[in-house]
Symmetry: C2
Subunit: 316 residues, 2 copies
Amino acid sequence: MELEQLNRYLEEHDNYLILTHKSPDGDTLGAGFGLCGFLRSMGKNANVLNSDNFPVRYNFLYDGYYVQEFEPECIVAVDIADTQLLGCHLAKYAADGCIDLCIDHHISNTGYAKHNCVDADASAACLVLYKLFKLSGREISDQVAKCLYTGIATDTGCFKYENTTPDAHIAAAGLMKYNISYAAINRRMFDVKSKGRTAAEIMVIQQMEYFFDDKCAVITLTTETINSCGVEPAEFEGLASIPLMTEGVQIGITIKQRHENVYKLSVRTTEELDASHFCQRFGGGGHIRAAGCEITGTLEEVKAQVLQAVKEQLGY
Amino acid sequence: MELEQLNRYLEEHDNYLILTHKSPDGDTLGAGFGLCGFLRSMGKNANVLNSDNFPVRYNFLYDGYYVQEFEPECIVAVDIADTQLLGCHLAKYAADGCIDLCIDHHISNTGYAKHNCVDADASAACLVLYKLFKLSGREISDQVAKCLYTGIATDTGCFKYENTTPDAHIAAAGLMKYNISYAAINRRMFDVKSKGRTAAEIMVIQQMEYFFDDKCAVITLTTETINSCGVEPAEFEGLASIPLMTEGVQIGITIKQRHENVYKLSVRTTEELDASHFCQRFGGGGHIRAAGCEITGTLEEVKAQVLQAVKEQLGY
């Protein structure tokens, strides 16, 4: 579905229920509350439903939000590539034909909705919405601008990553004309950490192991380590980018225990290597610089397999 | 001097010597080598002179650069607010009337050159150059684009800080159309750290002290601590932003020993407080969010004075 059709669709329908993905991030929440605010300003009914609670640092995204009473007529998924990402609390919407509309930017989108508006070139779902709102000719509120800016900034690592497009910068320039306190948003999104998070980061940095002339760095997190260190387990989420921060590292691997003898790998690579290709060896996949997979075995077995694969990939 | 005049000036003159500021950063180096590359592509002679050696991570900014033989006719200072910033190696250019041209973006620029092109609204000196090159109608090389992008990205903290303007984003969008590997540049500028730097950061985080319900965080670095910890002293430069990264901290203070009983303070604040005002109490100054001063006394005396001042500032 093209943006023009999507625009017409939104005009013609009403009573929207917007779903965000599990383990919500700035883009799915920004897109959810941003679309909701936009629809309400059109005089439509709209609510947002989140599968999981989300970190307090995102609270400003729903400033002024309240739940409306209505019977949903159109179910919209934002930034959700696959119905599996609805998570357990929204699993009932995963049924075939249940979701009317999907607005997304993942190339891996499975096309599960009745109408799919997927722009795989967009840096963020919020960038798709920015273009849509522009096209509509309608003015947006400061609050909606804040949501869209947050989604674009967070999905691009504050315009740092490869997926940042010229369009993402141009959208940021457009959104900065609203009263959005972008520096405060960025500080909150990228700089500020809880003491627990800092403790978790220091812990993984100090126990990180280096291999193959420091070209490979590995973090290993067992359930026991996490539960016995006195830091909230939630603080150990999303640490996968840390190994790549050491000078010279080309492949960073975070091995995290899921269950007994089941480990989840998060792999990050620099330009020299293909993370997705690496993870495919273990039945996983993802993007060229960030991918993942699951491996069964004891920790020693898993590490041996992984290091053997790294060795081959690096040509050692 | 307006950009139009500057453009005409560059066309009409030749044999340029470009000076960058001491303790060089991405903006002064990007502006220096970017302007040099642009002038050479116009068929002019141009060289860059750096006061200090600069960190190896900036080496890519002078890919393809070589020293030309010519007698300088026009001395240009880039990103230099004050002749004092020329540093000791370029001090001879500080003499009155020595510098012909200054291209800068600091509101504090003292207007020391014969012709000053200062745009205090620009996020970076490289943004002034971007606009100049656009206006000239001349094509720029990938290498020049790389230099300008680096200057804009580094001076805005990768588009994160308050000083990021819509124009900075629009320039980034324009520069990304060249072959500049912006993600690799950003990784090198913002993410990658030496093991020594990481060790220094962990050390200061672990010994950071909190006061007044965690609204104030203090790092103390004595010469003895630095010299006895096994990490290169250079890795302890520029750590002043760390205290502000902890949730809830409004004023972050780094106290670093200069000599016996002489301590340098680097103060960083969030929106709630004025760092410059704080440092003025001790005869220092700076910007509203980042300032500094020097205090004499024993470490205990210095800390007591500082905490008393923080107490008053926070209204405790």
